[in-house]
């Protein structure tokens, strides 16, 4: 999972997909594998939750991740949820977390954002929850539209519409050109605007 941080996002997702479709095993071994996958996804769930709860604070985000992970593991143990493969486990975790966040942030007053936070965080806090959720799933967490739709519980074109709105809202931001990161190649980074 750490490795996928460095690789472009779509590459890591594809690797997950293939490995999960090939893998077969006993139901018990599969469960343990699922737990391990959720465990490995926890840092990224935290990242997503922090961005999702950008107006509510880090403590809320951590609480949400813990609640979501506990609930999901409980459901898996009780066989209420049976994710087939690693990628499905990851999607289930994000889905549970998103549901919890939707409920928790419904009666949460945002706007306590520190002025030290970057402009993009302020813009993110301004977005409606559903748009924030979709843009983060795709742009930050590297999910495809199909996976994001499954997590958000909507159709693919709804995801696309929300992403479009979110990006339109972001367009007011004065963003500097991306600084080349050390050795990390962005997906599709070979494409440059030539003047």
């Amino acid at each position: 999972m750490v490795k996928s941080l460095k690789a472009p996002y779509h590459v890591s997702l594809m690797r997950h997909a293939t490995s999960s479709s090939v893998r077969t095993g006993s139901s018990m071994g599969q469960k343990e594998e699922t737990f391990a996958e959720i465990e490995a996804a926890t840092p990224f769930l935290r990242r997503y939750a922090r961005a999702l709860c950008v107006g509510a604070g880090a403590a809320v985000a951590n609480d949400l991740v813990q609640s979501a992970v506990e609930r999901l593991c409980e459901q898996i143990r009780g066989a209420a949820v049976r994710p087939a493969g690693k990628e499905a486990a990851r999607i289930s975790a994000y889905r549970t977390l998103t549901e919890f966040a939707r409920e928790a942030l419904a009666n949460e007053l945002s706007g306590r954002l520190s002025p030290r936070q970057p402009a993009v965080a302020h813009a993110l806090a301004e977005l409606p929850f559903e748009e924030r959720c979709c843009i983060l799933l795709v742009a930050l967490e590297g999910f495809g539209y199909e996976a994001a739709a499954e997590i958000a519980g909507v159709r693919r074109d709804v995801v696309l519409a929300r992403i479009t709105r979110a990006r339109a809202a972001f367009s007011a931001l004065d963003l500097k050109p991306e600084a080349p990161q050390d050795g990390v190649r962005r997906a599709g980074g070979h494409l440059r605007v030539v003047k």
Binding site: P43, C73, L140, G144
Partner: protein, 297 residues
């Protein structure tokens, strides 16, 4: 220009989000070469993505809080039985929306706790300030300072005695070069008194400097010919306050006599009977008073 008409904003989003593959991707990229306004849009969205990642990527790298470490594996501990269905999960009712409610409750209680903590801190501060005002307005009269009341010289002497009595090197300054011993005590404590207790049957072993109640203290060891009988004279510069104190609590086998002389507190301590130690203390006190201990015999 059929390519242009078939490419819309959704395709541009799909390109940014790596939703396209192979031919489609190449088609959109070709489109960007011909349409700088689309290319600018794509570049802007990529910057947005990069800004989002830059803002939140550190979260994924930091060490998660204790509550989240092993959250999944902890729940799936190998010792826990894998109950498929029909089991009662004590303390873990499934199917209820307990977790989100618990979250809001936790937040509310955290706020309440914060409020009460602030209140408690204010009250504690007021109490401390009040106590300080009370003490200072009454003046530091005899018997008021806390330190000697908390631990007296006798307790201190007992600790020092117990610490060093069984030490293989009992004395820091040996008895033999007496001038050296007295000189060391004089420089370290400002008073050198090594009374001769041979009348009571005690031979001087040596002395050491040890932490006292308020500053350094001297601990002078004596030994009787019977090897287990060791006593010590403890002394330290005393404040000009005697004052009534609680009776020191000593361990059962030790007896101590405390007295004041020349601005110092003296304690003679050892595993002797009350009479024997009293006798030894009296002869020591007499010698100290006359200053005889300071003069080399």
């Amino acid at each position: 220009m059929s390519a242009r008409s078939s490419i819309d904003e959704a395709d541009l989003h799909a390109l940014v989000d790596n939703e396209l593959s192979g031919d489609e991707r190449r088609r959109v990229e070709d489109h960007l070469l011909e349409h700088p306004e689309s290319a600018a849009l794509v570049e802007l969205w990529r910057r947005q993505n990069a800004a989002l990642r830059a803002a939140f990527e550190p979260v994924a790298r930091e060490t998660p809080p204790l509550s989240l470490r092993n959250a999944a594996l902890r729940n799936a501990a190998p010792g826990a039985p894998h109950i498929e269905s029909g089991a009662i999960h004590w303390g873990r009712p499934s199917g209820s929306n307990r977790a989100p409610r618990r979250l809001s409750e936790a937040r509310a209680s955290r706020r309440a706790r914060g409020f009460f903590a602030t209140l408690a801190a204010l009250i504690a501060g007021a109490a401390i300030a009040g106590a300080a005002v009370f003490l200072f307005t009454r003046g530091l009269g005899p018997g008021t300072p806390a330190a000697p009341a908390l631990q007296g010289y006798v307790e201190r002497a007992e600790i020092a005695f117990q610490t060093y009595v069984a030490d293989p090197k009992i004395a820091e300054f040996d008895a033999a070069p007496r001038e050296e011993l007295l000189g060391a005590l004089q420089t370290r404590l400002g008073l050198a008194r090594v009374p001769d207790l041979s009348a009571a049957g005690f031979r001087l072993l040596g002395a050491r400097v040890t932490p006292g109640v308020r500053g350094p203290a001297a601990l002078v060891f004596y030994e009787k010919s019977a090897p287990n009988e060791r006593i010590a004279l403890y002394y330290e510069r005393a404040d000009a306050l005697g004052g009534a104190r609680l009776a020191p609590r000593l361990s059962r086998e030790l007896t101590a006599v405390e007295w004041r002389a020349a601005g110092y507190a003296f304690v003679l301590i050892g595993p002797l009977g009350a009479e024997a130690i009293q006798q030894a203390a009296e002869s020591a006190a007499a010698e100290i008073l006359t200053g005889a201990g300071a003069i080399a015999p």
